[in-house]
Symmetry: C2
Subunit: 141 residues, 2 copies
């Protein structure tokens, strides 16, 4: 993972090189807000990701240190994906994207609710949810 062949060292660019595509942040979203942890669950998202793209993105996110993959101890068939600390740190970005879209795009009112609630709860809400994610994803691994 020591291959520094980035287009530039600009912070904005480096972020985009890791999660700047149409699918990666949706996977993160599903983990954070829908509690998804398994391949089949991600595959069933509203947006309809293809199985090969999903496999590719999960591998990339693991490579980037945003997710980890572990075998489910109970089910040998099941892999369980967890957020890392750096994955959990993406929440403020998601919250900000949500805010922008709720201001400027024709969002589904039902799907906008969690974001609205978070904004209504004040600036501590994001940090609170990050703490909860840390307990869930880092507490046990």
């Amino acid at each position: 993972m020591s291959n520094d062949s980035f287009r530039s060292g600009c912070p904005i660019n480096l972020g985009l090189e890791v999660f700047g595509d149409k699918w990666s942040l949706l996977i993160i979203r599903d983990m954070m807000f829908a509690g998804k942890r398994h391949y089949r669950e991600f595959l069933a998202s509203d947006e309809g990701i293809s199985s090969n793209i999903l496999a590719d993105r999960l591998a990339r996110l693991v490579d980037a240190g945003i997710l980890t993959r572990a075998d489910d101890p109970a089910h040998k068939l099941k892999a369980i994906y967890s957020l890392t600390a750096r994955g959990i740190d993406l929440l403020p970005i998601l919250a900000q994207i949500s805010r922008w879209s709720r201001s400027h795009m024709p969002v589904d009112p039902e799907l906008a609710r969690t974001g609205e609630a978070r904004d209504r709860a004040g600036p501590g809400a994001v940090e609170a949810q990050m703490a909860a994610l840390r307990r869930l994803h880092l507490g046990e691994g």
Copy 2:
């Protein structure tokens, strides 16, 4: 042209459908932080965007209501691009991406300075820069 053929009405998804690629937010970055307004300036970015991709992204961003394009009154050859209100509202997202990358990626220290300064200045700094952009891009067009 009211074709709402989005993958879903989820706020995160809708944002990604507009600016979820490797180039769009870099153009916005160059407008916000480097004061670029002309095609040739965008073309000269560190990351090396191709001219056809740049033309495509500028057109998309104009379509999405994030930028406007106007003929330069002084130079008939020059087009001048401006941010709209909804384009300026992307600044908090950029600031958040910058923050994530400065925590988790090998950013160029020199390029990280403006972000660090913004964070050091406190939460009002983003709003202040947005106000400045509004004066520059919306004040006159």
